[in-house]
Symmetry: C2
Subunit: 84 residues, 2 copies
């Protein structure tokens, strides 16, 4: 039961940035997004990947590697689409 | 060493939404924010709190309870400040 709750929680937190990324890709506008939020989150999920490798825990590695990908893309979009 | 990396990762991912919330509170504008992102993240961190209680793991409970608070406030702000 804990495992099901844990896996569901992990899936939700991992995919949460996907709708934000899709919205940014569609609207090409990032004015109200905080670049600090994206940068801190990217640092955090990258450290989770390192942690996962240290413990050889594939669920931690894979879910956070997915988040790294989404947040890195979001950060690139931020710098592409921000007002000059 | 793993513990230090894990705690640092947890701190980064937990506090990442704080600059976003401060930006929203300051600018009172949420046009480029995805409400799905906030709602999915809020569901995810709430489930992590449940998971933490099941395992009696206080670091999981406390860090995610903090995220619940930040994201719930962000969601309230979203509905307060969105364009009518």
């Amino acid at each position: 039961m804990e495992t099901i709750i844990g896996i569901t929680a992990g899936i939700f937190t991992s995919i949460s940035m996907v709708p934000q990324l899709l919205k940014v890709l569609k609207e090409k506008d990032v004015e109200n997004l905080s670049p600090y939020m994206i940068a801190i989150l990217l640092t955090g999920v990258s450290l989770w990947v390192v942690y996962g490798f240290m413990l050889h825990e594939w669920p931690i590695i894979l879910s956070n590697l997915f988040s790294v990908l989404v947040n890195a893309t979001l950060l690139v979009c931020y710098f592409l689409f921000r007002e000059q």
